[in-house]
């Protein structure tokens, strides 16, 4: 069984070795003349300002939490779609009920103003 994985392992080893090799050769033989501009994180991009670890607005939490809740529900859609043809009308009604319940949650979230950024 391990034989099946042999090409992948060889590839993995080769890729690792090659990557390090290139870096080492570059570090050994390449000329190094840093200027302030070259040392910047984005050499030809925006000039960075402020600390790197900025605080993220706590509002983002709410969006993230709501996203998790509404996102995970799709896990039920896939098996439903697979057997939809066998179950027919019943499956459709069942899913409408499910989405209806989600919709009530959505209306609640909306009306409470959790989706407003300001």
């Amino acid at each position: 069984m391990l034989n099946d994985y042999l090409p992948i392992i060889i590839l993995l080893v080769l890729a690792t070795v090659l990557g390090f090799l290139v870096l080492i050769i570059g570090a050994l033989f390449g000329p190094r003349r840093p200027t302030q501009r070259k040392a910047a994180p984005y050499e030809s991009g925006m000039i960075p300002y402020g600390p790197g670890t900025r605080r993220i607005s706590v509002r983002y939490y709410l969006v993230a939490v709501l996203f998790i809740l509404f996102d995970i529900e799709t896990v039920f859609f896939l098996p439903w779609a697979v057997v939809f043809r066998q179950l027919g009308w019943f499956a459709l009604i069942e899913m409408l009920v499910f989405i209806g319940i989600l919709l009530i949650g959505f209306v609640y979230v909306w009306k409470k103003g959790a989706l407003e950024w300001e």
Binding site: L87, F90, I101, I104, V107, Y108, K111, K112
Partner: protein, 482 residues
Amino acid sequence: MPTVNDFLLILPEVVLLIWALLILLIDLWIPDTKKYYTAVLSAAGLVISAGCAFALLGRTGSAFSNMVVLDGFSSVLSILFLLSGLAAVALAYDYLKRNAAQRGEYYTLLLFSIAGMMLMASANDLIMVFLSLELLSIPLYILAGFFRPRLASEEAALKYFLLGAFSSAILLFGIAWIYGSTGHTDFPGIVASIDGGRANYLLLLIGAGLLLVGFGFKIGVFPFHMWVPDTYQGSPSSIGAFMTVATKAAGFAALLRVFLVLFPAEAPIMAGILWGLSAASMIFGNTVAIAQMNMKRLLAYSSIANAGYILMAFVPYGNPVIAQEAVSSALFYLLAYALTSFGAWAVMIALEPAESDGLLLQDFSGLGRKYPWLGAALLISMLSFIGVPLTMGFWGKFYLFKTAVDGSQIPLVLIGLLTSLVSAYYYLRIVMFAYFKPGEPQIQPGRWASVVAVICAAGIFVLSFIPTPVFQFAAQMIMGMK
């Protein structure tokens, strides 16, 4: 595919869930000054659901490919949960207003939690047990932190959440191993697999042990009790009252059914563990309660002790005759305990000023003279907790001890009797404060808490004259179980 009959069998739960969703919507358009509409609506929903449950009383059957069953056990417990819910609504009505926490979500979450409890009592599949457990717990995590931004309430919620999720994870791991042992999660499938000798005994035993730990957290027995005092103290009092009664009852419902149906063969091993849990809870709860001066913490430790008492009758569950008796006496005790506990909490809520973490025992001073009705309710509740005759608490303990004697658990009964004597000390100390110490307690505005207190006290007293019919009703109801 489900038929109409399937939905009919879980009609109370369906009604309650739809009602909860509607209240969630309607509440959005109810202005903050008129939140009592939401309270009244939720009470109406509970009454309608209880009506459905009464109509289904005596019917049996299983629904949704054996996911849930309806039998006397689940019906009686459903009604108990719904009535507890009504009490929790009544207790919250003035209490939330006093604490400036009149948010309609309280009632919606309460209804969801009760629906979870009802499903838990009728769950016939381990995945259903897990799902209903989460349906009852998740709203309670929020309700425990309902007084945010008060730190005590938030802390209570976080502790309850972390330990609740911990116990759920252990429970789920147990379910996974039982599935591994038998290839099924539904009770009939598991039983068939065990009877057919196809189940792996070791995996089954591991699963049973993990389930016991998970349920142990939910019913709050020693040594899985650490969350109980902090959570009850920090939560809103109306939720504390609800949790001591309903959550405990739901935990016991699932524990009794799962162990009776799935693990009768493991009884010799489990009996020893149950024995230890029961004895430790009775001793620990009753001794630590002595040191408590805060009423909420005292009631929390008392609830740990009471979980021990209920577990006591269940120790010899491997014997089918004793098991029947144990379940009936557990149901009876849960009823007695519900009345008693709600009575005690209601007296406290009636007196509890805003922004407090529960009354100190001294705060009851002078209650008996100034408010005779409330004082009497407190007295009756405390006597019922001790198990003095002419109260439901006496009969509850009587049947539990009798079952334990029938199951020849004499040492456990002795521990139970001794710890009951110890408990008399701290319960009577509250009575002493209320009747023999001078003081000026002040009833807070709103009379619903007092009404609940008096109704519970009356129930404790009146029902104690007809214990046999009540017990026989419980016994008759669980005949169809299994």
